[in-house]
Amino acid sequence: MYVFQTIRQLTQFCGKEFLKVTIVARNHTFFKAPLWMISGRIAELVFSAVLSCVLLCVGCNRESQGGVKGNVRSGAVASVTKTSDVVTFQHTLDGYEPLKGVYNLYFTYKIVHPWWDAVALGMEDAIEQYSQRGITINHVYLAPKSVSAADQIARIQEAARQNYDVIGVDVADIDLLTPVMNQLIDGGAKIMTFSSSDAPREIGCKRIAYVGNTHNYQDGKALTEVLCKKLAYKGQVAILVGSKGAPCHEDRARGAREVLSKYPDMEIVDVAYDEDSIDIAYSLTEQFLERHPDLSGMICCNMSNPVGAARAVVQAKKADRISIVGMDHDQEALEYLRDGIIYALGVQDCYAIGFDTIQTAIKLADGILPSESTYPEKTDEKTTIVFQDGAADVLMVLYGKVD
């Protein structure tokens, strides 16, 4: 953009200079005007023209900012190398030019929860950037207070009746939601999935695209591996899953189980569902501690349960004996991580999830389907495992907290 502006200015400058030369020539015949004046003007004009051409060539060779290309990101789970890589808040819209001036989008997710508040921030920033380009996006982003597939079904059906441009769903229950989504898609609705849970095409869901975590299973495995290593592959472990039926939670738990099953000296002594509630996770952890005095580790599969578990462990004064691994970026959890109560956290880039969801929804609303040349059918957002040494930095990045 700047290059083009510069070229334009130079061209204008050249034009003006040329005009000056002609005026000089008109008003002063070559016999009357001093030679130095005319020569000087012509020299300026030639120089400007040459410079313009050079810049033009440079500009053409520059990689175009336009075009529609998919947001391809690696879905690999990685350790922290730079705190700035955990969550990237500096996002700018891709070069896609929306076809309309106004869009109406509807999103519903599993449960009203701070994790989705973080996703919302990414969405709002994307919407704000579209707004600066003159595009208005009206959106609904609602969820029940407790996970309910029925509630989700009712919401998306109502949204379809109201003819929203795109309906986005963070699937609470794949089995229950899939046939409903398929029906609505058959009826002409444009439905995508986003954030934590997908209903993939592989299982027969016709949803058009997904933006979010595609590697919950791998996240569970990676965290569990980290814990096992910490425990020297020996000890009793309890799992707090999260919400029953929530794909992401179940997948992580599944990954955890698979890893633990590899190590014969690692034993799963308890598994429970905390329904994404810190308080429930706290009381469940208390029970674990009572029931299993030799408990040495806990695997927490969502954002809330590591907080509940850590509180209970601290309360029981067993922080030095029990290692906790968990998910996401709760501030309290990060503080526990910083203080060594929690051993590791898998932090998802919620901001990017929200930001990219909007970008995908706009394209979908314009009728553009995912493909090689447009955008990926699954936009995978990263998870980064953070340890104690990175906690302070992550706290600073995510919450501006400084020691």
Binding site: F89, H113, D117, Y141, L142, Y351, V397, K401
Partner: protein, 742 residues
């Protein structure tokens, strides 16, 4: 020579004085400046806190105003919606969008009881960002919090009642502030050589509210910890800053380092948990104060120079004035002498004027006395002559009596003219404007003049056909006098066989209800020269010709005519050719009379009165006049009693009252000039007696003083009317009839 030396001495003295005073002022100023500089450091320190406090104070006001405006805006938005049930999200969004546009709010939102947030373009659930709005929210609040992404959220919210959306109660309306924008608006743009003033917004725990740096302090650094660390490094006490900040107190921290001193002033922001901070480097303050003191110094120097220039100018001016003082003194003396001379002249003129007045008064008194003293015997001569004629049957005697009568009347006329002139000159003539019939008066004049013309065989015509409004209100006697004088002259100076014409026409005049009456008298007389015409209106002027010398006259006639015409506001023009004749044109404005009303009154007056048996008291000191009047009155039927003077008249009236007959006399005729008690005094005395008895007896003045002002005097004295002597019997009878009718 002496004067010049003196002036030089004065000048030198003034210059010397000026220089001394200037030197004193300069010296004092320099001492003052030195003293000021010595106290600069102290001033800097003292002023620093004031300066910082002032800097912060202004920004605090700006911030407070901005927050208050936002709260007001929220109030207006809620008021705009009013209390209603909103059926769908679209309607609420529309209102919010409208409000945003109308009030310029960027992020305006409402929250329902389920913590669902509604904005102009979105509806969303929230678990963490606005959860605080669900808890005990009854008053407007400012809430700051850190969000995911290190975002600072500042929300201004007010509780809401009465609005429902989709069946859910709206509990709050809020604006989300961009705190970086707010903080940015407080930052000073004053850049001087050392740097600028830094403004920061912090929580009371020292965390930065914004994402901006506070001078060198990173946005993510805790201010309290920074200051404590800096103070420790400088070996200063750092224990109090933390507590002070947490408590939200105001304070100033000075951090000294090897090459700099930083001043950090902090103050709480009302109704929030924020602290507004300002940081300034020492050299900034010093520079500011230096600038101020430099400006003050410049001003002082300018003032000093101005004062010096002013003083020098003053001294030079005074010197030059003093140099000219001698001239002024001389001039002053001349003026004094002149003034004294003028005063003396004025006194002399006043003396002359007094003498002239006295002489004039003496003349007037003389003439008045003469008037009475001449008129009284004249009255007797004319009266007795008339009576003698009545009883004479000898034709020769009748002839002699006729000539005596004519001469007597001529003499009386002469006296009257002289007196008239005197009165006119004294300004004592008062016009008596009364209704009159001009045509009738003209006819009367015709009768008189015709007789004189017949004697000289002069043809005389009067033409009044040009008069439209013959009934006027004017002192017709004076008009008569004017015309009679002019006609009299025409008759006098027209030889036998000549002709005289008198034409009266009425012309329009500016004033409504008025007409301009032009009377032209044309004769074929001897005429007058142009030279004489220039003096015709002067007193006692007569053309000295052989003809004139044989014709009797005083030379006062035209003077009187001119004065009377001027008094009436008229004009007189004379055209004359010697040997051919003269044309005199007099124009006098007169008011038209409403005749019908007046005739009704006159008709009443004409009703006949029987005087028989009426008792009349005649008060007259002159025996002859008393006898004449008594005879006339007794012939008319009156019972006449007489009194020789005013005192006797009063005694007689008093006696009649004492004898129980206050109305004994039906009428009293009172002379004016009498010995012992004059007519005015007697009238006042009689009135006093009769008023006590509630009786009114008409008292009529009988006086040789025949002028209007005399009549006024009589009326003022308490008399009812005034009749002039010589007595006109008919007029006397009419006057008596007027008062004895009832």
């Amino acid at each position: 020579m002496q004067k010049t030396t003196k002036d030089k001495t004065y000048r030198s003295a003034f210059i010397a004085a000026s220089l001394i005073i200037v030197a004193i002022i300069v010296g004092a100023t320099l001492l003052y400046i030195r003293a000021t500089n010595n106290n600069m450091d102290q001033a800097v320190n003292t002023l620093s806190s004031f300066y910082m406090e002032e800097l912060l104070g202004k920004r605090e006001v700006v911030l407070k105003d901005a927050l208050n405006r936002d709260f007001e805006l929220l109030g207006r938005v809620v008021a705009l919606i009013g209390t209603k049930e909103i059926q769908d999200q679209a309607s609420l969004r529309k209102v919010l969008l409208f409000s945003q546009t109308l009030y310029g709010a960027k992020k305006l939102a409402m929250v329902d009881e389920d913590n669902t947030i509604y904005t102009a373009h979105s509806t969303f659930s929230d678990a963490s960002r606005y959860a605080f709005l669900q808890k005990d929210f009854t008053e407007p609040r400012i809430v700051t919090s850190n969000l995911y992404g290190a975002k600072k959220q500042v929300v201004l919210a007010i509780p809401v009642e009465g609005i429902r959306v989709l069946g859910k109660r709206i509990i709050a309306c809020f604006i989300q502030l961009d705190i970086d924008d707010v903080a940015g608006s407080l930052t000073s743009d004053n850049v001087n050589s050392s740097g600028k003033v830094f403004i920061g917004l912090y929580y009371k725990n020292g965390e930065n509210l914004t994402t901006s740096k506070f001078d060198e302090i990173d946005s993510k650094q805790n201010l309290i910890k920074f200051i404590q660390k800096a103070l420790l490094l400088a070996g200063q006490d750092s224990s109090k800053i933390g507590t002070s900040f947490h408590k939200g107190e105001k304070g100033l921290v000075t951090i000294k380092s090897a090459d700099d001193i930083k001043y950090i002033y902090y103050s709480p922001v009302e109704n929030t948990d924020w602290m507004l901070t300002v940081m300034v480097h020492d050299n900034t303050i010093a520079d500011q104060l230096g600038n101020i003191s430099r400006r003050i110094l410049q001003r002082n120097v300018f003032q000093l120079i101005s004062t010096m220039v002013f003083l020098i100018a003053m001294f030079l001016l005074i010197g030059s004035l003093y140099k000219r003082n001698g001239d002024i003194r001389r001039r002053h003396q001349e003026l004094q002498i002149k003034a004294r001379n003028e005063r003396e002249q004025k006194m002399r003129l006043e003396e002359i004027a007094t003498m002239a007045k006295a002489a004039n008064m003496a003349k007037t008194n003389f003439l008045n006395s003469m008037s009475h003293d001449i008129r009284t015997p004249m009255n007797a001569i004319i009266g007795y002559t008339a009576m003698a004629k009545r009883y004479s049957d000898n034709s020769k005697v009748e002839d002699y009596l006729g000539k005596i009568d004519v001469s007597g009347r001529q003499l009386l006329s002469l006296v009257n003219q002289v007196l008239e002139m005197s009165r006119i000159e004294s300004g004592k003539i008062v016009l008596s404007e009364e209704p009159a019939d001009l045509v009738e008066k003209a006819n009367a004049v015709r009768t008189i003049i015709a007789a004189d013309c017949n004697m000289k065989n002069i043809s005389f015509t009067i033409d009044t056909s040009g008069i439209v409004h013959k009934d006027v209100i004017q002192d017709v006697s004076r008009v008569n006098q004017i015309i009679s004088n002019i006609l009299g002259n025409a008759v006098k100076y027209t030889p036998e066989g000549g002709s005289i014409s008198c034409t009266a026409v009425e012309k329009p005049w500016d004033k409504e209800g008025y007409g301009l009456y032009e009377i032209m008298v044309k004769d074929t007389g001897i005429g007058m020269s142009d030279e004489f015409l220039k003096h015709i209106f002067e007193e006692f002027s007569r053309e000295k010709t052989s003809t004139i010398s044989r014709i009797q006259g005083t030379g006062l006639g035209m003077s009187i005519v001119k004065k009377l015409v001027d008094l009436m506001g008229g004009d007189i023009d004379i055209q004359s050719t010697p040997g051919q004749g003269t044309v005199v044109t007099v124009s006098i404005p007169m008011k038209w009379d409403d005749v019908s009303r007046r005739r009704e009154t006159e008709a009443q007056n004409l009703e006949a009165v029987d005087f028989r048996g009426k008792r009349l008291l005649l008060v007259e000191d002159n025996e002859m006049n008393r006898e004449i009047a008594s005879d006339i009155l007794m012939e008319s039927g009156f019972v006449v009693e007489t009194a020789e003077d005013g005192l006797i008249a009063v005694e007689k009236v008093s006696n009649s009252v004492d004898s129980g007959k206050p109305g004994y006399y039906d009428v009293i005729l009172m002379d004016i000039q009498m010995p012992r008690m004059n007519g005015f005094e007697a009238t006042q005395a009689i009135r006093a007696i009769l008023v006590a008895q509630d009786v009114h007896v008409p008292i009529i003045a009988l006086s040789a003083n025949a002028f209007e002002e005399d009549r006024q005097k009589s009326l003022e004295a308490g008399m009812d009317d005034h009749v002039a002597k010589p007595i006109d019997v008919q007029k006397l009878k009419e006057t008596l009839a007027k008062y004895l009718r009832h």
